[in-house]
Symmetry: C2
Subunit: 362 residues, 2 copies
DNA sequence: CAGGTCGATGTAAACGATTGCTATGCGATT
DNA sequence: AATCGCATAGCAATCGTTTACATCGACCTG
């Protein structure tokens, strides 16, 4: 059985050799077969009301018989519209984004648009920016899930020729005025804090995402504000993290527990962080939730089945994607943007990683 | 002088804008500004060797200055090539596929191809099949991760005009002769069985995926064959499951433990099943791995952090995607397919969900 | 019955690139 | 000196649609 084979050679061969071999059937053939002009075929297909019922039926019969499809390039070239949208994620391999992508697809499908995807790394590899796709007319619009684009690209995205064709979702660059669709990160953290305070916790820690990320900031601020309201605060020594990844949750758990005074409740900026954190805690013999309570953020599918099942903040990622797509569509159709910031509600789902603060904590 | 030049350029641009009502700059503009013909611009861009160094530099300068991009539709129309590939997954929201998609992107990027994605549901919603995209020239090829396409669509995919433009990855329809890239499912299950037999286990159970799925079949067969080799067998009452989802693992755990005689080792056809299963077992007070050992399949990111960390069969999904992309590229370039079935090796990663069979089992 | 309206269709010009031919200029070969 | 070859660049056809405009009856109206 074979394992793999040289790729570079294929690439070169592809670039040099490939031509679409088969001669596809075109509108002219249909016209001839149906005994009408190409204009009539085109109209029968895209403006059925503009041709007589008999002609339409006749054309359709031929179209069906030969399984004809309009060549999308010729069409797009003529109408100057790609009928496609590009979604750019920081990392395609990160499962966190898959549901947002699915939501985008949901939003695009009713409008008959296609979905192109790419990730920031591949773009860099090709020395391209998503702007290229727009300029090359390959996509009508862009939904960007990466809030950390370089300034130069952001400038391009704000420039005249792509204005109104970009929506940010989930993450976004600050102070740029792009339309964005996001979850209510502050409210989410507030929910988490209130839940834990209600359980009697007074000693909090926070696991944050990467430095400079908007979500990191909003979630931290949300936590701090809610804690302040409860008369509590979050000393810097109680803030750890540095990415949304599992392994940092694991690592941070160790760091936190090594401190002289231990928190009884840990707020995590992602479920991955929370799962890593719990894993790290159990490694240290710290029990969740008996010794410390942990709450996550996102409510990924596995959250309900981790052990213990994770108390977390649910954000509806699918909906977020769909709404981003809808906003883009509306913006593409020339409608003036309603507001630039759309904030989606979140909710807390209480499972078993949180419990009343233990009285006997040191 | 610079001023004069700039203003003339602006006038030209303005006139163009005014006339056409669009801001896109075209090859004609570049040609005019560089003082050459469009043919030369085109050649400077795509066959740099065919123009003199001076001309090329001159053209490039103008191209850079105006940030010109070739209109991909005009180009695709002319060269009859989309430079894009469609990936079709059963369900975009399922994170299992995200890494395969990332791998596909990896394979496509060096060749400069774009990636379109869609899922089976959206296709149905639009009453389209992936064939449509190929016929409409929207994509050069298709990578299909859905092995359960209706027969009619499979017929279309095998038909003349799309022949050689399809590769199946991960899953595939049987008895059709399409090129397939897959993991070595049988060997994977054999690895799992051997590991457990080595730990002294004699009482096995198997959690399967959906009925009719190739992966379900191959993994079951792999398990059965390896067990047979060890002189063991798998009675029907020890086979449960019905999907790759977490919740079915959870449910199946209950079913299995309700049987009069309990297995000491559970083979799961996916990590999700395994995680659900462990969750279900712990619900019933059954400890993993002390009471029963569980092994998963896939090695998803969370597998290392579940509790206990999951012993599982790793399949390199990213590589699988990349190789599928490379096979498609090679096939598009007209090379005769080497062999239709490419099988990727898997390996077992032993963590803590498996242990020696307890002597004291009832 | 002349003139006007309207609906259905055809004609042909875009859309923006690529590329087979052809023309030109210039150095090398015989 | 005449010819050949080659590198370079332009001309114009072409890719497969859509759509503005023209055409042509049929029907209506005064």
């Amino acid at each position: 059985m074979t394992i793999a084979f040289a790729s570079r050679k294929n690439v070169i061969l592809y670039m040099k050799t490939y031509r679409r071999g088969t001669m596809a059937i075109g509108i002219k053939d249909i016209a001839r077969l149906a005994g009408v002009s190409t204009a009539t075929v085109s109209r029968a297909l895209s403006h059925p009301g503009r041709v007589s019922p008999e002609t339409r039926a006749q054309v359709m019969a031929v179209v069906e018989e030969h399984d004809y499809r309009v060549n999308s390039f010729a069409r797009s070239l003529r109408v100057r519209r790609a009928d496609a949208v590009l979604a750019m994620v920081p990392n395609l391999g990160n499962p966190f984004f898959s549901e947002i992508i699915a939501g985008i697809q949901d939003g695009l499908t009713p409008a008959g648009l296609d979905l192109l995807v790419t990730d920031s790394l591949s773009q860099q590899a090709r020395r391209q920016s998503p702007v290229t796709h727009l300029q090359a007319a390959r996509a009508d619009g862009l939904i960007c899930l990466d809030g950390a684009l370089p300034a130069g690209i952001l400038d391009d995205l704000a420039a005249g020729d792509v204005a109104g064709r970009v929506v940010f979702a989930c993450e976004w660059p600050e102070g740029r005025g792009f339309p964005v669709v996001r979850s209510d990160n502050r409210a989410g953290m507030a929910l988490a804090v209130q839940h834990l305070v209600g359980l009697g916790h007074r000693d909090f820690a926070l696991l944050t995402g990467p430095e400079g990320n908007v979500l990191t900031r909003e979630r931290r601020e949300g936590a701090e504000a809610a804690l302040a309201q409860a008369g509590l605060s979050l000393p810097p020594s109680r803030i750890a993290g540095g990415s949304f990844e599992i392994r940092d949750g694991f690592r941070a758990a160790g760091d936190l527990m090594r401190m002289p005074s231990r928190p009884t409740a840990i707020l995590c900026s992602s479920d991955q962080l929370a799962i890593g954190c719990i894993s790290g805690l159990s490694e240290l013999g710290v029990r969740v939730p008996q010794d410390v309570s942990v709450v996550g953020f996102d409510d990924i599918a596995l959250a309900a089945y981790s052990c213990p099942p994770l108390t977390t903040i649910r954000q509806d990622r699918r909906r977020l994607g769909r709404i981003a797509a809808e906003r883009l569509l509306s913006s593409l159709s020339g409608k003036p943007p309603a507001e630039t910031l759309t904030t989606l509600p979140v909710e807390i789902v209480v499972r078993r990683s949180t419990a009343a603060a233990s009285k006997a904590v040191k």
